[in-house]
Structure formats: C-alpha cells, structure tokens
Symmetry: none
DNA sequence: GTGTAATCGAGACGGTACGTCGCGTCTTGTT
DNA sequence: AACAAGACGCGACGTACCGTCTCGATTACAC
C-alpha cells in the first residue's frame, strides 16, 4: 500500500528519510485516534506525540487520513485469505468469517469507519481509499467468484458484480450503522442467499425446508 | 423529523423564534454545501449567507451536520412510498426503484454521503442520524416485509433483518463508494436474489405454514 | 446628581417607573463591581443579579459607568463638609482629612478609580463625570478659598486655581497610582506647603518680588 | 522599556521573531488609536492594519494596552531631561516646562490618558504601567531633588515624596480632567510653591540640619 | 576533506474558523 | 407606558490548527 509522495527510487544526495520518525508518526496517529477520536486528531497532536516537527508529516503525507491509512496498514494485517475450501459456498462463508474475525478488533473497525467517512469529505483521499483499499478487497472476493465459475458451481444469479455489492455493502452497512460486525447468523443467512441456487438449482423447496 | 433543542410547547415570555431566520439558515446551508462542499462549509459561512448571527445557529443546532440534516428534511421529500403492489417481488422492486429515482438528485445524494460520514466522526450526530433517518428507512421497508408475511409470499430466507441489511447495505455501499446510484440491472438482480424463493409459488404455502 | 435620561416631571400616561427595579439595579451594580471588578461588570450581569430585563437598564442609563456613578451617589455620601474651622490652614487640613477618611472605604475608592478611567475612554460619560462629580468637589474647596480671601488669610500664592489643581491632583494621583489614600504625613505636608506663605505673611512681598 | 514576554537571550531553535511584524503592529496600534480612539481599538483591527495574524499579537503582548505602551515608547521619546540648571528652582521649572512641551503632542497625551485608565481596570497592566512608566518618571524628578539636597538649596518642606506627589499629581490631574496640559502660569505658580522656602536661604541651613 | 543537498527538530508566521460573550435592539405577553 | 423574558444581528474575544516559512543542526553523497 504505497501512499508516500516520493518513492525515492534513484539515489539522491542529502540526508535520508528517518525511519524512526516515520514509525513514531504512524504509532502516534494510531494511538491518538484511539484515545481522542478522529475529530480531535490533529497534525500538531501527532507531531507532538511523535516528537517530530509538523513539516516532517507534511513532507510525506498530505492529510491526517493518509497517515492513518498507512498506520492501519502497518499495525493491522488487513488481508483476508481467499484459499480454496472446495466449494463456492464454503469459500464465501470462509471469506465472511475471516472478515467477521477481523472486525472484532474495535480499534481497526473504528479507523476503517473514519477513513470511509473521510473519503466522503476529502476528494483526494477518497480516490486513494477506493483504489488502494476498497478495490483490493473486491479483488480478493473476485478471486473466489472466478474460482467458482471455473469450478462450475457459481449460480447464474446474482451476477458477480451484484455479489460484490451485496457482500461489501452488508459488511460496511453494519460497520457504519450498528458499529458492530456481522454475527454468525448473518454470515450464514448471507451465504445461503448468495449461493442457494448454486447448491441445488432444482430443489429449492427442500433446502428451504432443511433450513428451518 | 424533530431535532430542535427545545420543543417550546407551552407559552413562554420573550420573543419567539424567528421562522425567517430558520428557513434562511436551512436554505443557505443547503446551497452552500452544493457550491463549496461539506469540507468548506462553516457555521460562519452559513450565518453570512443567511444574514443572521452565528449565535442564532448555535442556539438551535449543535453542529453544521445537524443543520444540514434538517435542511435535507425541508428541501427534499425523502420518504419513499411503500404502497402495495400486489406481491412481495413487486413491492421490493418498487421500493428499490423509488430509491433509485431519489438518488438521481445528486445534491441529495451528496448530502446523504457527508451526513453518513459525519455520523462516523461526531458521536452525538451519529446517534441522531441513526434514530431519525436510518431507522425510519428501515421501518419503511419493514412494512413491505410485514405485508408480504401477511399476504403469504414472503420467502423463509433471508430473514427480515438480513433483507434490511442487504438492501440498505447495497444502497449505501454504492452511494459511498461509486457515488452513483444502483442501475436498473442491479435493482433487478437484487430483487431476484431477495425474492427468488418467492418465485416458486408451489413452495410458498409450505414455507408459510412452517414460518407461522 | 441627576443622570437619568428623562426626568419625568410632567404626568405621562402608562406605567410608572419601578423604584424597586431602580434600586435593585444600583445595588446589583455596586455589589458586582466589588466582586468581579469593573472589567467583568456587564449590563447583562447587572440585569441578572437585579432580576430585571436589560431593557430596563438601557431605558434609564446609557452605560454601565452611568449606573455605577448613580449607585455610588446612593450608597455613599461623598460630600465633604467645608465648615469654617477659623483659619485657612485649619480649613484646608480639615478638607484633606475628610477626604482621607472617605478614602478609607476601599469599595468607594475602587469605584472612583474606574469611573475616572471610564471618563478617559467614554467621551459622553467623561462629560458627565467632570460636570457632576469633579466640578462639585472643586466647588466645595473653592468655598474654603473664598472664605479665606474674605477672612484675609489667603496667601497670594499659589492662586486659587493652582491650589485646586494641587489638592485634587495629589489626591487623585495617590488614588490612581498607589491605590492607597494620603496618609497623615502627606496631609500635614500638603497643608503646610499650600498655606506656609500664610503662616509667614512678611515674606510674601519679597517672594513675589523675587519671582517676577 | 522591556515588556516582551520572553527576552530570548540564549540561542533557541526555530524561526526568530519577526522584527517587521513587531514594528507593523506597534505602528498600526499607534495610528488606529488616533483614528478611532481607544474604545474602538481592537486586537483584530491592529492585526488587520498590520497585516499579521492575531496570534502574533497575543504571542508577545497580553492586551492592547501593552501594545500601546510599547508603541508609545517606540514612537515618542518620553524621557525628559533632568540636566543641572544651577538651582533647584530652575531645575524644577525646566522639568515642568519639558513636560509641558511633551504634552503638546495631543496624540501622546491621549495615549497616556487611556493607559492610565486601563491601569485602573486591568490589574496586570496596572502593575507594568506603574513600574515601567510612572516609577521612571518619579525617578527622573528624584534626581533633581537629590541634586538639590547635595547642592544645599532643597527646602525642608515639602518632603521629597510630597514634591513628587504634588508635581505628578498636578500633571496627571490636568491631563485626566481638563485634557489640556499645564500652562505657563501654572508652571510658574507650581515652581514657586514648591521652592519658595528655598528662596530664603537663612532657613535652609537650619531646616537641612533638622532633616539630616 | 569539503562542499552541496536534503532531512530533521523547533517554532514563529499569516490565516481561518471555532464557539462564546456581551452589545444594544426588537418582539411578545403581562402588569 | 414600563416591565421580565428572551431571541435577534452583530462584532470582538482568545484559542486551536492549518499549511508555510525560517532557523540551526545533522547526515549523506559527490567531488
């Protein structure tokens, strides 16, 4: 997840970027947002906590949201496995359960919420957030769908695009509104809804009966 | 949608609240957010445009988001019909299409996005936004579900709670990430996914019997 | 000491001025200036303490300093006797000692200081303060000087005008700078200085001659 | 006349105080108080006129009166010579005439009046005004008195302390009440009153003996 | 080694908006 | 008409951060 202004690449003269300062800033931002909330988070506050000058933050990140996004990437491994579990249904369930597990970390959830919020308000950050975070999550689930299509157990409905919208829509909606993650029942219900046609295209009635 | 600090009710001495100022403030906020965006919107700017003092805003609303929420309620009729269209499938499709139509108003969509954003950042506003806006939308769709259950064409899966999460999740996810509303294809795909069991009327009687 | 905007004089229709409110306002102003100081004194604060509306204050006094001046007149008897003590020297000493005694009331002194201050800043109040307070004090001492001239023990120097300037100048200077009144020694020293020629009339001619 | 918060002295890191801003602020304050008066003078107005931020003023001065006091020190050379004119009488007359000349500058007089006023209202400023202005003036005249004592023509009465009170008392009283400075006649009259005993050298020796 | 160049901390700077306070005015209903 | 109450337009307050700009003081590469 690259968001620095200048990937140095070629060798330049002059002092090198301080790795200590970078980490101190990311840690300070991560801690502060947990202590005083995003509304109270300021560049000045981060600089104070990190023991660095404001300029050092402005040099490398354009906004506090950018700092926080990188801090999240450093502090939390956000990437969810999409290993093959043998069937489309099991893959989807596993994906949802992985996400569910991740969203138990309240600190991480809180940061995701405010980053999504900031993406609505700050156009430039929105661009980055969509391309470097949201799209990556879609890509991960897309792999599951592609595998199902190859395997042959992908139901004709809903389309892949709709599945992505439903899955991430439901996830984010819960995050943003109830502030609590999906529960086991919702995981199960959602998995069934998205995959029921695939499981038994001919005998919907029986499935329904079993599920009761 | 009541959000004023003091519903006066009984007759008190002193000058009454100015209806002119209230409307001027709501109109100014609505216009300004369209012209300069939410990030640039300030209480000071609203007061200037409205030709009133800042105190008059602070007296009645605790934040610019509260002003905007009331402005939205005044400027836009947000409430979507949930009239009976004869079947669950048609009711759901109508609800989604109504929403789709509403979300063609870019100004309204932009405000909804930033209000959802603010609800993540400002705890107090989040409370109000959930209770006075989000919950009402859920209630409206709940009526459709209740009618379907009574009518007898509500599929056993997904549960009502899951349907609400999926519908509003997908709606908000599109709003917040692509910034463009659902298209006809998504409406159709989503409707089918949520009601596909209902499309097999032979099972419906049995399901209903089980559910009761 | 009249400073009301409208001496009612003739009989007008409508409700009469409330004597209770007037006294409550004057008392509140007097108390508040002692508790929180002149800088913190506000019309709103006076109105709250007095249990009256702000308009009632604005109706009768143009500024908080005007209120305070009237409050002082009501609360403190500022007028110093200038009774005949038989000689110019004793009259002057008595006048100074009276003033000294008055200036033991710290509350009164504090108010006089801030009224003099306000008179420098607020042109309109300055006018009133000079004519209705300062001039009256000068007039009182002038009586002493006139009596001495009649009696024949008024030294030719300093002139009456200079005596007034020296006496009140010294009084006010002590008030404004040390915040403590003249002591006995200063009273005695000042009396002697102003009247010494009177004590040694034979030198006067020589002095005058020398000074020319 | 030092009134800055931090005499930097030792070398600190960070940007240095801007001398341009300091002068721009002092000039703006001096001009504005002449144009709109002290009551209308605001920190905000000074900052606008000076083309600087408000914080730059608050960083270095605690109130508009402090700014004005420093502005006065920069704009006007307030210090009056106390050179030796050969006799106590001539020294006192010269001191008074110097002051008289200074007080022809209406702008300077107006500022002195409001600073004395502010010193009554603002405790902290009063402290500074007394110690950094009033006391220095007293010290200057004290030099004249000390020289007279050394020289031997200081009259026994009034005491040095009383002379200071009378001189500055009369000066300030005229300033604060008539708003016009002492005239030639008052200078002469006051000089004579304070020095008349000195004109009788026969008494001086005895008096001096007593005083020692 | 000795420039030259970039980064670092610190912190002053010109700004902008904050949320509050008090001003003096203006209803509103009561006395 | 005056009164208590209190909302109003207004303007300044003093504060908090913004993002920029000196400042010495490091570092590091290039000569």
């Amino acid at each position: 997840m690259v968001m620095d202004k200048q990937p140095p690449s070629e060798s330049r003269p002059g002092r090198k970027r301080s790795a200590e300062s970078r980490m101190a800033i990311l840690v300070a931002a991560f801690e502060l947002v947990g202590e005083i909330g995003y509304a109270g988070l300021t560049i000045e506050g981060i600089a104070n906590r990190a023991g660095c000058g404001k300029q050092t933050i402005y040099r490398w990140w354009p906004s506090k949201a950018h700092v926080l996004l990188e801090a999240l990437a450093v502090k939390a491994d956000l990437y969810i496995t999409n290993a093959d579990h043998g069937s489309y249904t099991d893959d989807v369930r596993a994906f949802l359960e992985d996400t569910f597990r991740l969203s138990r970390q309240q600190r991480v959830v809180d940061i995701l919420r405010v980053l999504m919020a900031e993406a609505q308000i700050n156009e430039e950050f929105g661009e980055l957030f969509r391309s470097s975070f949201l799209q990556r999550r879609r890509d991960a689930l897309q792999v599951v769908l592609d595998r199902a299509r190859t395997r042959g157990d992908l139901p004709p409905r809903p389309t892949a695009s709709t599945v992505l919208d439903i899955v991430f829509g439901t996830l984010w909606y819960r995050l943003l509104t109830t502030r609590r993650p999906m529960g086991d029942d919702l995981v199960e219900d959602l998995t069934a809804t998205l995959t029921q046609a695939a499981q038994h295209p001919t005998n919907t009635a029986i499935d329904l009966g079993d599920q009761q």
